[in-house]
Amino acid sequence: MNPKDLLADSAEARRTVEAFVATFQAIRDEVGKFIVGQDEIVENVLIAVIAGGHVLLEGVPGLGKTALVTTLARALDLQFGRVQFTPDLLPADLLGTGVLMEVDGRRVLEFQPGPVFVNILLADEINRATPKTQSALLEVMQEKTVTVARRQHRLDLPFFVLATQNPIEMDGTYSLPEAQLDRFFFKLTVTLPDHGQFAEILRRTCGTTLPDVRPVADGATLLQMGEVVRQVPIDASVQDYLIRLVRATHPGSDDSGEGVRRYVRYGASPRAAQAILTAARARALLQGRYHVARQDVQAVAAPAMRHRVILSFEGEAEGIRTDDLIGDLCRTLE
């Protein structure tokens, strides 16, 4: 896989794209050994990881959110860390702290890295930590650095935060602030498996042996895949559609519909447009195309914007779903 030749040589480009798709499919197959169903969730998580983005997984307990992340870590041969977020978790517990050490007879303050210094960080039940601890992740997620005692520590790449949260048990939780929500590339909603998938889950997990998940890619491969994705071309008309779609989520926009004007308090940010474009590029390659199409944009619009579109009080009172609003916009702006 040589991302640099993607624009120069068409034959090399073809080989690179084929390698990209093959690697992606291999990772998906490996994850699929343990995770039953949830194909769209798995694909979107992989797209986000390739794009270098963080994912917020929302779903009731027991749907395999944590299992998905641990399986993905095993398939990618990356350093994996898990932090169970609780109300008494402190930023230092997460980022690391300075510890007095005796070196050559002198006492020095040495930085002891926290659990974030991994490639894949599972932030389990992230909304149970206090806003102070949640905010400690802002720099890590955006800059991929940790600053402690005025010293900045760079994390190894790739670095992803895969966070989970439970939408039901709201007692003792702290809703993520909009600024932190905006850091997540995708927000994916994990749903209940159907009857057949239930049976398959039972078969795979309640037997005598567990599926053997092996690493099929490493961090360098993921970074290269990200480079490939960023070179997938997009026509001006499709990009214009993407921009209008994001702008239409704002109540003051000319393209916003009646639903947005009535039920939305604040729309998606330019960071959402970046996420949609990158994810649409990856999806285009996975669909066997060499350009981004409107349908790629539409496919990733909801996971990229559902947590960035903030409903008004009236919208929440009416039980409006942001996915419905985004779906309407996709159709009307096409």
Binding site: L6, L7, D296
Partner: protein, 491 residues
């Protein structure tokens, strides 16, 4: 707009921009490369492949993955049948245009709804009626002005009556016209001269009655009681002492002349005693005639006393020339006051005639109000005792009491049992009240009620209820229509 017939010009005015807009739309939607590519993408399900390839080529992005994209798209297109591409004509636009044209044509076949047509007819009728009424009133006030003195015309102009009538014209709103007419009527009724005439007439009548009470049933007293003020002025003039005009009758001329003059002065004093009594009885009355009458009575009394004393002195041989001269002056002063009162009586007669003409104008106003309200028609011909001011002085019986000063008719009846006999039309000042004759008949009243209900925007259900209410209360009260007791007049 509901129920209105759309004029052909409106349909044409709507059609022209529509046709122009259609042409512009067709021009804007003409097929371009990008549009054709978009149609092909949708038709062959190419997922924006052709559009993207076109865009990349236009942007000169041709190597590497772009060539791959073009080849991939080309392969996708090669498998398609280009003849299968059909870009349907803008059927929806065409159908919409046809539907709109059809709707416009269909609407064009409609006439105005009965309600709209009725409103239109009513507006036309109101315009016609208000215009006719305005013309008639203008003619009437012009003729009236020709018969008036400068002072009377000034009184009319001071009240703004002529100006308001000149400003009348055709209006669509009957209520507006009625308000204007009611305001004119109010001003005509409230002219200050009317009160002055009434006060003077009241005093003079009282003076005449006082004279008769003193057994002085002279032509002067009768004329005063009957309100014939010109005759009264003549009768009064006959009692002039004429001391200055006839030297032979001056007190200095001879004892006989002095005696005769003293006798005339005594008769004048007796005659004016009634005036003085009336003046005392009506002490608070604001009347010029009352002041003149009182002054005349005082002068007559003084003159009579002085002449009697002079006569006694002369008979005793002790009258001086100076006393005679003073008696002459006194007699002349008395004559002057008598002449002033006579002039006031003649002026009162003139003002009464003016008021009579004004009353004719008010009758015209009343008829015009009824005509504008659709309750009656105007009589044909301007002097068919309707519109137009006939010469009251020539047609009126001078023995009749002047209008507005006749005996008051007192109507009896059960309070509250009869129809309301006063129709109130608010003037802009809020003071205008139009009083309809108390001899109103039920049919007329019913027409008025129905007219008001029809004019106002009353819901049909309420309208029917109101109508039934009025019909029932009046049908249930036959005494209202019977001539007695409500129709009886008692002096």
């Amino acid at each position: 707009m509901a129920g209105h017939h759309p004029p052909a010009a409106w349909v044409a005015a709507g059609g022209a921009p529509g046709a122009a807009g259609g042409l512009i739309l067709a021009f804007r939607r003409r097929v371009t490369h990008e549009a054709a590519a978009a149609v092909a993408d949708r038709f062959f399900d190419l997922a924006d492949g052709l559009t993207s390839a076109l865009g990349f080529e236009r942007d000169r992005r041709l190597g590497g993955i772009y060539r791959l994209q073009a080849a991939h798209t080309g392969a996708g297109i090669a498998a398609q049948n280009p003849d299968a591409v059909r870009r349907p004509p803008p059927w929806r636009v065409a159908i919409l245009a046809v539907v709109l044209l059809g709707a416009a044509g269909f609407l064009g076949t409609f006439a105005d709804s009965p309600a709209v047509a009725a409103r239109g007819r009513q507006r036309q009728d109101t315009l016609l009626r208000t215009e006719t009424a305005a013309e008639r009133l203008k003619a009437a006030v012009r003729e009236l002005a020709q018969t008036l003195t400068d002072e009377q015309r000034e009184a009319l102009d001071r009240a703004g009556i002529r100006r308001m009538i000149d400003e009348l014209g055709p209006v669509e709103d009957a209520r507006e016209a009625l308000r204007a007419l009611a305001e004119i009527e109010r001003r005509a009724r409230d002219l200050p001269v009317r009160q002055q005439v009434a006060n003077d007439a009241r005093y003079l009548e009282q003076a005449g009655r006082e004279m008769q009470r003193r057994r002085q049933d002279t032509p002067l007293a009768r004329a005063l009681v009957e309100g014939r003020h010109a005759d009264a002025a003549k009768a009064l003039a006959r009692q002039k002492l004429d001391a200055g005009e006839h030297p032979e009758s001056q007190p200095a001329a001879s004892p006989d002349a002095l005696g005769e003059l003293s006798d005339r002065a005594g008769r004048l004093r007796q005659a004016t005693e009634g005036m003085k009594a009336a003046s005392q009885r009506l002490a608070d009355l604001d009347s010029q005639a009352r002041e003149l009458g009182e002054q005349l009575a005082d002068a007559a009394e003084a003159t009579s006393s002085q002449l009697a004393e002079l006569q006694r002195n002369c008979e005793g041989g002790a009258c001086s020339e100076a006393e005679r001269a003073r008696a002459d002056e006194q007699a002349a002063d008395c004559d002057a006051r008598l002449a002033a009162l006579g002039d006031a009586m003649e002026g009162l007669e003139s003002r009464s005639r003016f008021l009579a003409k004004l009353d004719d104008l008010m009758k015209d106003l009343n008829r015009c109000q009824g005509y504008v309200a659709g309750q009656c028609d105007l009589p044909e011909g301007r002097n068919a005792r309707g519109i137009g001011s006939g010469d009251h002085g020539q047609t009126a019986d001078r023995t009749d009491p002047p209008d507005g000063r006749g005996e008051q008719a007192q109507l009896t009846g059960r309070h509250g049992s009869g129809p309301s006999l006063v129709a109130v039309v608010d003037a802009p000042t809020g003071e205008g009240v139009r009083r309809v004759s108390s001899q109103g008949r039920r049919e007329q009243f019913r027409r008025q009620v129905e007219s008001i209900i029809r004019r106002e925007d009353v819901p049909p259900s309420l309208k029917t209820g109101v109508k039934l209410y009025f019909e029932r209360i009046h049908d249930a009260a036959p005494a209202v229509d019977s001539p007695s007791p409500a129709g009886q007049e008692h002096p």
